[in-house]
């Protein structure tokens, strides 16, 4: 530890312990972990709803739930996955990790981050409390198009609770994004220029920018919808519903990138670490990320190809152009592995799984970016398959990459390798078994959001396979929870840097102290710890040559 600069240690805040202390903490690690665990709970809850849907669809006929029930299930499943799971968990990772990666002792505006946690919880309670009302939870789909979502067609109070829930969750997302972004702008360690930010931190930058520009449109859409429901005369036909669709998808497309980029960042960190190589092509990568984000703010109309209300060719052009930045990301990932020294540990397995599964989501995305193809596939099971390959294959695989990679840092103990491998392979099998058949179902004409389908259609076998696959996913999650339980009860101490990490979070103890760092190594690139290791190696070589 020769080349380290001491860091001023801020006074340690005196906080009460226990639940109150946790819920009132301004330590970014407590807040980040708290949001993370909350959001993961919502993931499991929404997963249970998915299992219910899949068991209903295993066979033709209605066996498990009614049509009303099914409509509530997919609405709350989709909404929970986006608003209460994917967005908060992606930003929670930023709240926890970004200060550690940039050598800061805290986040900027920790109370905003804390408020983000509270609002996420309240939004979730509001959205799910619909299940306790007589007519049940919202049943208008996660994008709640008017006039279907208007009062005369959907008079249930659950829909109003859902609107409140979405608004609260959207505000929470903006507060978290503001806090992460301000941290990166204001609190970087000496020497940490913007072009020395670790890759994960850069992905947080673009995600936060997108949250701050796209989420206001969602809040406006929800406010207008609420006003229409209560007062009327706001979203009147024929223009009102189309205006709503524009507002919604101006948020709705970018959000899928918001919940993708940070996990791409985690995957990049894992690939670099477990290849023992610097992330390849850092500058082109950063530029392509920014291009990616800008482009993805201009593709929302591809959700409206069949409305006749948008210029289809324009949105087809921008959507297809997305393959350029996405292709650059793949180039950098593969080039990082090239001539590396690859250790196939569990985080690396999930990172490779991400590359494979997201690829299918991405290529099918280019497919439906062509109106001639989308006219057939939109609103069919093809779409359900496509977006689960991006959201499960991309975001969730990336999430597990992040969890296995940073678990030792956060908890100070290791997850088990064998259970992790079981988790990984069960996920790969279950994921493909669940969602691949859906491509064929969609091509054959099965519409999405149906509780039932005719036996004569010949879709039973594929649907049964898909349902079996969802059971395998459930099993894989049980294995993961077992791994967590084993890891926390029979602790295997991790030490500060179990993987040979590249960025600053691996230069402090696991878990980090409240002030994060006692001392910081010098920052001369985006991989300061790798720099140090390589320099030591060179010195060793020089000594060897002299002797």
């Amino acid at each position: 530890m020769s080349a380290t600069a001491p860091v001023a240690r801020p006074p340690r805040p005196r906080t009460p312990g226990g639940l109150v202390g946790t819920l009132a903490s301004t330590d970014h690690k407590v807040v980040g972990a708290g949001i993370f665990v909350t959001a993961f709970g919502f993931f499991l809850a929404a997963g249970v709803l998915a299992l219910l849907m899949r068991s209903e669809l295993a066979q033709p006929g209605l066996q498990v739930v009614s049509e009303e029930g099914y409509n509530q299930l997919f609405t709350i499943h989709g909404s929970t996955m986006f608003y209460l799971f994917a967005t908060p968990i992606a930003l929670a990772a930023g709240i926890y990790l970004v200060p550690l990666q940039i050598g800061a002792a805290r986040v900027a505006w920790p109370r905003l981050a804390l408020a983000g946690w509270w609002l996420t919880i309240m939004g979730g309670l509001s959205m799910w409390s619909g299940f306790l009302t007589q007519q049940g939870a919202a049943d208008v789909g996660w994008y709640a198009y008017p006039p279907l979502s208007d009062m005369p067609n959907s008079p249930t109070i659950g829909t109003d609770y859902w609107i409140f829930g979405v608004i609260l969750a959207a505000v929470a997302g903006m507060l978290l994004a503001a806090s992460v972004l301000a941290t990166i702008v204001k609190l970087r360690a000496p020497g940490m220029t913007m072009l020395r930010l670790p890759v994960f931190a850069w992905t947080q930058v673009v995600s936060c920018l997108m949250v701050l520009t796209a989420f206001p449109a969602l809040i406006v859409a929800m406010a207008l919808l609420f006003a229409q429901r209560q007062l009327g005369g706001v979203l009147t036909t024929p223009e009102g519903p189309i205006a709503y669709q524009h507002l919604f998808w101006f948020f709705g497309h970018p959000v899928v990138y918001v919940v993708f980029f940070p996990f791409l960042g985690a995957v990049a960190e894992a690939i670099a670490t477990f290849s023992g190589r610097r992330w390849f092509g850092y500058r082109p990568f950063v530029i392509s990320l920014l291009l990616f984000a800008a482009l993805s703010m201009s593709v929302w109309g591809h959700h409206m190809f069949t409305t006749e209300a948008v210029k289809n060719t324009y949105f087809s052009l921008t959507s297809t152009a997305l393959l350029v930045p996405a292709g650059i990301e793949y180039f950098d990932a593969l080039a990082t592995m090239w001539r590396g020294r690859i250790r196939l540990r569990v985080p690396m397995l999930f990172a490779l799984g991400f590359l494979v599964l997201f690829l299918i989501g991405g290529t099918t995305g280019i497919w439906i970016g062509s109106p001639a193809l989308d006219y057939h596939d939109t609103d069919s099971y093809f779409i359900v398959a496509h977006f689960h390959y991006t959201l499960f294959g991309g975001s969730v695989m990336g999430l597990f990459t992040a969890i296995y990679l940073w678990w030792p840092k956060v908890t100070g103990t290791m997850l088990r390798e064998r259970l992790g491998r079981w988790h990984f392979w069960l996920t790969m099998v279950g994921m493909n078994l669940t969602f691949f058949p859906m491509f064929f179902l969609g091509e054959q004409g099965m519409a999405r959001r149906v509780a039932d389908y005719p036996r004569s259609a010949g879709w039973t076998t594929l649907n049964t396979l898909s349902t079996i696959g969802s059971g395998v996913i459930a099993l894989s999650l049980l294995v993961f929870l077992l791994n967590v339980a084993v890891s926390l009860t029979r602790r295997v101490p991790a030490g500060p840097d179990p993987w040979g990490g590249h960025s600053l979070e691996w230069a402090t103890s696991s878990p980090p102290p409240p002030h994060n760092f006692d001392a910081l190594p010098p920052v001369r690139s985006f991989a300061p710890l790798l720099d140090r290791r390589e320099a030591e190696q060179d010195r060793g070589d020089a000594r060897g040559a002299v002797a």
Binding site: L148, P238, I242, F331, I360, S370, Y375
Partner: protein
């Protein structure tokens, strides 16, 4: 006149091979890299698990030329796809042929209604039976589409085509049905519209132009008879 299914197949004929090739090549590269450069068991002595073990990883960290070249290839692929899509789009969005029949489609929760313009013929379903859309084969058919309540979508999977039915604004398009045949549940609503969305279907019956004309005459006569009976009563 464009055959929407042929357009779909033609565009798919370019997109599918490229997409499959991309997936196969990249998955193969991922697997090959992971196996080729992985640390083998023999190499992995205790304490050797970290980087900087025996075999040193490469330190090359970028290749701007190669990457720029690769980006140019990506741009070319995107341009090819966009060009193919645009040429189809121009044909699908600006149909030129004169249609032989015009059918006004009305969507309502959770039914379809087909009015054969200028004939007084209407196709409606029963309480639990879907209506049948009868069309002539191999002739362009013009549709207008409107909803009287929420948004629905008119989808005929065999034609690879759908269009939203918006309340208060009608939209129009042309379809061609090349071969005769009967498709049970050959059309469906694909925009979620509430409780019975899954049941909002119709059958598709494509007849030879002669059979279609005969059917229309017969339906007109029946409608006339009903009208006359109503007037008499």
């Amino acid at each position: 006149m464009t055959d929407t299914r042929r357009e779909f197949d033609q565009v798919a004929g370019l997109y599918l091979p490229i997409g499959v090739a991309v997936v196969v090549v990249i998955v193969a590269l991922v697997v090959v890299m992971a196996l080729r450069y992985r640390v083998r068991d023999g190499e992995q002595e205790p304490g050797d698990d970290g980087p900087g073990g025996r075999r040193r990883p490469s330190r090359i960290a970028d290749a701007p030329r190669a990457e720029a070249l690769y980006a140019a290839v990506l741009v070319c692929i995107a341009a090819l796809l966009v060009w193919r899509t645009f040429s189809t789009e121009a044909r699908e969005d600006h149909p030129r042929a004169a249609a032989t029949a015009t059918i006004d489609v009305t969507a309502a929760r959770w039914h379809w209604r087909f009015d054969y313009r200028g004939t007084g013929v209407t196709q409606l379903g029963g309480d639990r039976t879907p209506p049948t859309l009868v069309v002539p084969a191999a002739q362009p058919v013009r549709f207008t589409l409107v909803s009287i309540d929420v948004i629905h979508a008119f989808w005929i999977p065999a034609r690879r085509f759908k269009r939203d039915a918006n309340p208060g604004a009608s939209s129009s398009f042309e379809l061609i049905f090349p071969t005769t045949g009967f498709w049970r549940d050959g059309g469906e609503c694909s925009e979620f519209c509430g409780l019975r969305h899954a049941q909002m279907r119709f059958d598709v019956d494509v007849r030879t132009p002669a059979a279609y004309a005969a059917w229309l005459r017969q339906r007109r006569a029946a409608a006339g008879a009903v009208g006359a009976a109503g007037a008499a009563g």
